[in-house]
């Protein structure tokens, strides 16, 4: 079962190998249970009535006729939710997001939900609910939302982090600001200065599995919740907050997840299912259709950016002035802060000012999307750096090497970098066959880099050794990217046993301790660390048991290749299975738990190179060759590291070329389907070549940094840079669709 095409890392037998994932067979044979697959006895189905208006006041909701419809069990509206007056602003926004109260703020905003004995009946009854609206003017872009006299979404929204605080409400929720040095001096020292403006559109995470939830509320104030999410603990806690419950009154059980990319870290359907179940006194299942996913769940921000950058002829970046405004959707919380922090993190720049604004608009509230914010600011910064490289006629890798962040450099957002691997990713691309081969005739070659923090956070692992000597590893981290395999590999390495003897398991909120979401590229780092620590506790315990068996000191026992050995060699080694079989006589069941708020995440860097061809008569771009180099720290399961690297690139290619939310003038979404929201299909793509760079993270027992996110940061700029070099058209707006690119080519030809 184990493929071993990779040489094993010296000292490691399992870490760095590529066994088939424990959940793989169930997933490819259809046996795995995803969010919508659960069926409970007496379960009923739900439908959500959603606003068709982008912005309107709800004057009345009449459910009388709908309640009389066949099969209807319960109907809920905003009136069924606890008031938001005493909630923290973020919780209140979350509560109003999942069910509108006095206003609807985006098309798709839930207004009511129905539970009925069939989905068709629930949908029919939802249609029979009569809602009267007073339509209000809407704003769809940051420019509209920030204009004088713009319609205001929230009349209590005062811009945060502005001194003095504004006296009146606006659509600007907050301001992020970072600066260092002296901009004027920096620009005065420059040999070349460029100024550009860029825009990007909202793009959706595009996970294949729509949101789904099943709830079974008891009359004792408790509820069971089954969720397809990136973190069932957070889903439980958020649901409890908007329903005014104690979090521990809800037991949330994770289903398999069919993609998340950050978008399944927040609640939509879960509180509706719990309330409907309580009111109907039946288990309730609610599943979104694809158009609901697009209309009502988080894309990431559309944006508007202005950047001015100066450079010396020797390649030193002397100054950067970056202004950004991000769409948050209907409630505050765009990733403009992270975009500001990451924008210049690849570089050591003495003089900069970065200002970002979080702006509400009448669109769905944005949700996290793979390195939230970083790809957007990187599109501006990395496009600008390529233009500067052309302006001073310098190789884009040499320019980046000349300014590269490294150990000891202070990051723009404050901390001083420990050992990081940015330079190694640049060198890996510079030394690659791809970069060393000439650009094929008629093609353009583009390069860009990216940074993402990666995080640690709260994780818990319980490891049990069964009587047969096999091992269960229980965590609370939903497996999106193959983390079960990594957890099994850690345990196999620690115990010195075959990885097939390790069974990873993801437990519900009552069975394992509070665990943060699978996000921020944290699971292999943080949950991996607690698995390792729990295994080490058991190894210590096993040595103690062997010492007891041999009636010797524990210091005389060592753990070698799955066996307890007496240092003298006088005793026959005891295998894990031997010790497990005798556990009852050496202290009882063998089990250990480790819980930790894991610190010391290692920053991730990626450098990417793309060759592409543009059909100058149609504006169509074909990606011909793509190489991505990324610092993983240590690749525990290289296939899933490569998969994360490739997946990030592919999502970035979609973002670059075709993906966008297209809104009609009336504020409704014109493309809520995978037909007209164009994620790449397999035939759009070459094989994405990967170079896994391994600069170990000194804070992790195996050197892990985290790999899930940074891969999506460089592609948009890399592709824009390649298009510029292929066509002499500098694309400053995403997506660079055939229509947009042909327009640019026509303008170039007219000049």
């Amino acid at each position: 079962m184990t493929m071993t095409e990779d040489p094993t890392t010296p000292g490691y037998k399992w870490v760095g190998t590529r066994p088939i994932r424990p959940d793989g067979l169930d997933k490819v044979t259809g046996k795995a249970r995803f969010g919508a697959d659960l069926i409970l006895p007496n379960m009923v189905e739900a439908a959500v009535l959603r606003s068709r208006h982008a912005h309107a006041r709800i004057l009345s909701i009449d459910t009388a006729a709908a309640l009389e419809m066949p099969g209807v069990q319960a109907i809920i509206t905003g009136d069924d939710f606890p008031p938001t007056d005493d909630m923290a602003p973020g919780d209140a926004h979350q509560a109003v997001k999942v069910m509108a109260r006095d206003k609807v703020l985006f098309e798709g905003h839930p207004v009511a939900a129905v539970a009925a004995t069939s989905r068709a009946e629930a949908q029919a009854a939802a249609k029979a609910i009569v809602v009267t609206y007073e339509q209000l003017p809407h704003v769809l872009t940051v420019d509209e939302a920030m204009a004088d006299g713009a319609p205001i979404l929230h009349d209590d929204l005062i811009t945060a982090n502005v001194d003095p605080a504004p006296e009146t409400a606006s659509n600007i929720a907050s301001r992020a600001f970072f600066e260092r040095g002296d901009l004027d001096e920096g620009f005065a020292a420059a040999d070349a200065i460029l100024e550009r403006s860029y825009t990007t559109k909202p793009v959706h995470q595009g996970y294949i599995e729509p949101h789904a939830a099943v709830a079974d509320s008891g009359q004792n104030g408790r509820a069971n919740l089954w969720v397809s999410s990136q973190g069932h603990f957070d889903m439980r806690t958020m649901t409890a907050k908007v329903l005014g419950m104690s979090a521990s009154k809800i037991k949330a059980t994770p289903a398999e997840i069919g993609g998340g990319f950050g978008g399944k870290t927040t609640i939509y359907l879960e509180p509706l299912a719990v309330l409907l179940s309580r009111k109907a006194n039946r288990p309730v299942r609610v599943v979104m259709d694809r158009d609901e996913v697009f209309m009502a769940t988080g894309p990431t921000s559309g944006s508007s950016m202005k950047i001015k950058m100066g450079i010396k002829n020797d390649g030193t970046i002397t100054a950067c002035d970056l202004w950004m405004a991000f769409e948050a959707g209907a409630f505050p919380g765009s990733p403009v802060g992270a975009a500001s922090m990451t924008a210049l993190a690849c570089y050591d720049v003495d003089n900069f000012r970065i200002e970002g604004f979080d702006v509400v608009v009448n669109k769905p509230k944005v949700a996290a999307y793979r390195a939230p914010g970083a790809p957007i600011s990187a599109f501006a910064v990395e496009s600008m750096i390529d233009e500067l490289a052309r302006a001073i006629d310098m190789d884009p890798i040499e320019l980046r090497l000349a300014n590269a962040a490294k150990e000891g450099v202070q990051a723009p957002y404050g901390p001083v970098f420990p050992r990081i691997g940015f330079i190694e990713t640049l060198e890996a691309i510079r030394d690659s066959d791809h970069y060393r081969s000439p650009v094929p005739e008629g093609q353009g070659r583009g390069l860009a880099s990216g940074f993402w923090f990666n995080i640690g956070g709260n994780s818990v692992a319980t490891v049990n050794v069964h009587a047969d000597g096999n091992v269960s590893v229980i965590t609370g981290s939903p497996d999106i990217g193959g983390s079960r395999s990594s957890m099994a590999l850690f345990a196999a390495e620690e115990f010195g046993i075959d990885v097939e003897r390790v069974q990873p398991h993801i437990a519900d909120t009552d069975t394992i301790g509070d665990t943060d979401v699978t996000g921020g590229s944290r699971v292999t780092l943080a949950t991996g660390k607690v698995v390792v620590e729990a295994c080490r506790k058991i190894v210590t315990d096993l040595c103690r048991r062997a010492a007891k068996t041999w009636d010797c000191e524990i210091e005389d026992v060592e753990w070698v290749q799955g066996h307890a050995q007496h240092v003298s060699g006088t005793e026959s080694p005891l295998s894990l299975a031997d010790l497990a079989a005798n556990a009852g006589r050496t202290g009882g069941p063998i089990s250990a738990t480790h819980a930790e708020n894991v610190r010391g995440a290692g920053a991730g860097f990626s450098t990417q190179l793309v060759d592409l061809a543009v059909d100058e008569e149609t504006g169509q771009t074909s990606i011909v060759r793509y190489t991505t180099a990324q610092d993983a720290g240590k690749a525990i399961h290289p296939s899933y590291v490569e998969g994360q690297m490739q997946g990030g690139v592919v999502q970035g290619i979609g973002w670059a070329l075709n993906e966008e939310y297209i809104h009609r003038a009336d504020g409704t979404l014109d493309n809520p389907s995978f037909l007209d929201y164009r994620i790449p299909v397999a035939s759009d793509l070459p094989m994405i070549d990967t170079i896994v760079v391994e600069v170990p993270n000194p804070n992790h027992p195996y050197g892990v940094r985290g790999v899930g996110e940074v891969g999506i940061v460089p592609p948009m700029a890399a592709i824009a840079n390649a298009i510029d070099r292929a066509t002499d058209c500098r694309m400053e707006h995403l997506p660079m669709s055939p229509v947009a690119l042909l327009e640019a080519i026509n303008e170039r030809n007219a000049d």
């Binding site: 149609t618 037909l675 007209d676 299909v681 055939p738 229509v739």
Partner: protein, 296 residues
């Protein structure tokens, strides 16, 4: 009052289907239902009766005749694209049929459905127009045969009476020294709907000049259309940059497109010319025997 559910009927003869269609005003025939089901799911009114044509032998039979083929209107398009004789003789039509949806969809989708769904962007229609395919239509008043170009009258609209449906298509084998082609522009490489489509059938004379030309465009007007001016620019002339430029200009001029999420008016006009030119070139190469297997 109509039933809240849809009825389903799978007749085994044309007469039975015509009878059922005539008896119920909100009945609809279907073959693969690859358009119908998504439309119903998207909220279009449900038909009271769905009539499945796939059990009528004539509707799913492909017959080679002395002059060409008779293709049942409900025949899965994969039967055409996987038929080496059909595909090598009519590569443009076969390739157009092979662009509809995914491989899985093509085991259900049909020429009859693609035509009668009456989308301006239907891929098989320009290819059928340049091959001057005829539709055999059955109805309460018997059977009639009419050109494919007379079926669609606008987006979602056909000239068929309520009790009529297309039983089969008559497709002529091309004359000697003739090639056909169909090309489309989509922002991706598959699984998409044409922003612009262009079909061409070109016959060359002994000198390599154009003896006959048929050129059609899709997705640039309420229905797919033949472009007489582009055809006229070619007949009697060599296929060269000048005549191809004239084809492109005539094709762009013939467009009457809309601005929508898939493309702008300006884009569609410009690219219609580009694709018409390229389709003519490919069809002419095939006529000359230099590119019989197509090019993408």
């Amino acid at each position: 009052m109509r039933n809240w559910y849809m009825d389903y009927l799978a007749p085994t003869s044309v007469e039975e289907a015509v009878g059922a269609l005539a008896a119920q005003p909100d009945a609809r025939v279907f073959a693969g239902a690859t358009d119908l089901i998504p439309q119903i799911r998207a909220g279009r009114p449900e038909p009271g009766l769905l009539i499945d044509l796939k059990r009528i032998d004539r509707c799913t039979t492909v017959t080679k005749t002395d002059t060409g083929w008779v293709v049942g209107a409900a025949t899965p398009t994969s039967r055409l694209t996987e038929d080496p004789d059909f595909s090598s003789t009519l590569p443009g039509l076969s390739e157009a049929a092979g662009l509809i949806g995914s491989d899985q969809i093509q085991n259900r989708s049909s020429l009859g459905g693609n035509l009668c769904n009456a989308s301006p962007a239907a891929d098989s229609v320009p290819a059928m127009l340049v091959n001057e395919v005829r539709a055999v239509v059955a109805g309460g008043n018997g059977t009639r045969t009419l050109p494919v170009g007379d079926i669609t009258t606008g987006p979602g609209k056909t000239s068929l009476a309520d009790d009529e449906f297309i039983v089969e298509f008559e497709i002529d084998a091309p004359p000697p020294n003739t090639g056909d082609a169909y090309l489309r522009m989509i922002p991706r490489t598959e699984m998409d709907i044409a922003v612009v489509g262009a079909g061409a059938q070109i016959t060359l004379d002994a000198d390599g000049n154009c003896a006959a030309a048929r050129i059609a465009l899709g997705a640039v007007a309420p229905t797919a259309l033949r472009v007489a001016d582009a055809e006229a620019a070619l007949v009697g002339n060599p296929i060269n940059d000048d005549t191809l430029a004239a084809v492109a200009a005539a094709a762009s001029a013939a467009c009457n497109p809309i601005d929508d999420k898939r493309g702008t008016i300006a884009y569609r006009k410009q690219v219609a010319g580009v694709l018409a030119k390229r389709a003519v070139k490919l069809a002419a190469d095939r006529a000359a025997g230099t590119n019989a297997n197509g090019a993408h």
